[in-house]
């Protein structure tokens, strides 16, 4: 259910229809011709698609090997044709249940085979359903570390293990973030410090431990999972929190109505996020299993 008031549904439908009518023209005016490619395949990309920008995919709570996960994987591959991202961030619970070789094939490799074959590199964070030994798994690119730092195009990414935020990890995080001079600082991990989920919701312990660090050291954006839906949280002390936990099984109706945290959300179906960093802007587009855009927008980087 889209978290919109019922009485604004009509206005929403009109807005979407108008967007559909006019946005294609607006995008066609871009000099790089990106909208032409999108129109050709019938998929609309609202992102700028600038040459040299960092293009990414973000999702979590995916690894079930279900029909729905495969269907969402197909949509991810379709969008890769028109928005050629080369990086994917996983927000945890990447492999539910056992993780034998057959499981990894069924719940990950076969689902995202077109992306893996196209050279997309996945970077995982671990959730409460993931065995710690998955940090060695070749396609998760964790290089044996449960928490790590990644840097691309002047954007620093911090993958944390929120199921076991012990002192060693916290000390590492603080020392790394404090000296980070990248243009953007992004964190991704499983348990959301802010979420409007009925099942889990905001993890107050994780929030108490890491949100003040993020505020102090200028983290810009945080991607999490755990709650099985998509939510864009209203900025918290200037930090943009997203819950991207709809990669494998949706928890329909779990997003609380009228939550003061929610900027927008989608808990009717599976979804994933497409992200593009262009110097001082982070653009995002959220796509459902049907291929529809359920949220989009742009975040401007905080001045240092």
């Amino acid at each position: 259910m889209m978290k919109r008031k019922t009485n604004s549904l009509f206005a929403w439908i009109i807005a979407v229809a108008l967007f559909g009518t006019f946005s294609a023209d607006a995008l066609s005016a871009q000099s790089d011709g990106s909208a032409v490619a999108s129109a050709a395949s019938g998929l609309r990309v609202t992102l700028p698609k600038k040459d040299g920008s960092l293009k990414m995919l973000v999702f979590g709570d995916s690894g079930r090997g279900s029909k729905e996960q495969y269907e969402l994987g197909k949509v991810m591959a379709d969008y890769h044709q028109v928005f050629p991202y080369d990086t994917a961030l996983l927000t945890g619970d990447n492999i539910y249940g056992t993780d034998t070789a057959a499981d990894m094939k069924l719940k990950f490799e076969d689902v995202y085979r077109p992306l893996l074959d196209s050279g997309v590199k996945f970077y995982a964070s671990l959730g409460n359903h993931d065995a710690p030994t998955q940090r060695f798994y070749q396609h998760f690119n964790m290089n044996g570390k449960e928490y790590y730092r990644l840097e691309k195009n002047n954007v620093a990414f911090y993958a944390l293990n929120s199921t076991y935020l012990d002192k060693t990890q916290l000390d590492w995080m603080v020392s790394e973030i404090a000296k980070d001079t990248n243009r953007w600082k992004i964190a991704f991990f499983h348990h959301p410090p802010f979420s409007s989920g009925g099942r889990h919701g905001s993890d107050k312990d994780v929030k108490a431990m890491i949100h003040p660090v993020f505020v102090k050291h200028g983290v810009d954006v945080v991607f999490t999972g755990h709650d099985h839906f998509y939510e864009r949280v209203k900025p918290q002390d200037g930090i943009h929190y997203f819950v991207a936990g709809a990669g494998g099984k949706i928890r329909k109706g779990d997003l609380k109505d009228r939550s003061p945290l929610t900027a927008t959300g989608f808990d009717a179906d599976l979804s994933f996020m497409l992200i593009e960093f262009t110097e001082d802007e982070m653009h995002f587009q959220v796509i459902s299993r049907s291929g529809a855009t359920v949220d989009s927008g742009m975040i401007r980087r905080k001045p240092n």
């Binding site: 249940g97 056992t98 993780d99 034998t100 070789a101 499981d103 990894m104 094939k105 409460n128 359903h129 993931d130 065995a131 710690p132 030994t133 998955q134 060695f136 798994y137 070749q138 690119n141 290089n143 044996g144 929120s162 199921t163 076991y164 935020l165 012990d166 002192k167 060693t168 916290l170 348990h191 993890d203 107050k204 312990d205 994780v206 108490a208 431990m209 890491i210």
Partner: protein
């Protein structure tokens, strides 16, 4: 004079009783000796583990699922075999368990206590058969440990983890997925 001596004797007895109670109940603060003994036992486990793990080829940083599975299984079997006589309480001795109980119950009162219990009881791991020196089933959830609790509990070497299964607090070998010891009634 005789009456005064009686009073003194009574006061002396009461003082002795109070001192004894303080000693037993730990009113004097943390039981540092219990924690030191616990860390010695942990160090002994780590030494044994390092010796056993040293006999296996290290996992490559980009391993196949087959390599990961084989390594985990071999390490688990070797550790179980080398500790075949392990019993509950070998590491988490009753005295260490009592101290850890005290740490948790002191740190978690009111809303915090309620939240900790909610987190633990919502986990999908209630059916795990908890035994010392037994495998932790890999299909079961590894419950998130509240960071504030991890800061309060005795620090563990990186190969070991604290984990809850209902009201039991487990010591788990993380890569071997092996329950090395546990204590009951850990939740306040």
């Amino acid at each position: 004079m005789k009456r005064i001596s009686k009073y003194w004797a009574l006061a002396f007895c009461m003082a002795l009783f109070t001192l004894s109670a303080v000693g037993q109940k730990g009113f004097s603060g943390p039981d540092r000796a219990a924690l030191a003994d616990f860390q010695k036992r942990i160090a002994a486990y780590s030494k044994l583990r390092a010796r056993i793990a040293g006999g296996f080829q290290k996992l490559p940083l980009k391993a196949t699922p087959e390599q990961i599975e084989a390594h985990k299984s071999a390490l688990q079997k070797a550790l179980m075999a080398s500790r075949r006589n392990a019993r509950r309480g070998d590491i988490l001795t009753p005295r260490a368990a009592a101290e850890i109980q005290r740490i948790i119950s002191t740190g978690y009162v009111g809303e915090d206590r309620k939240r900790l219990r909610e987190t633990v009881f919502e986990a999908e791991n209630k059916t795990v058969q908890v035994r010392a020196n037994a495998a932790y089933p890999e299909a079961s959830e590894l419950l998130e440990m509240p960071p504030s609790l991890l800061l309060a509990l005795p620090k563990l070497p990186k190969e070991l983890r604290w984990r809850f299964v209902v009201d039991r607090l487990l010591l788990i070998d993380s890569d071997a997925l092996l329950i090395i010891d546990y204590m009951t009634k850990a939740l306040p």
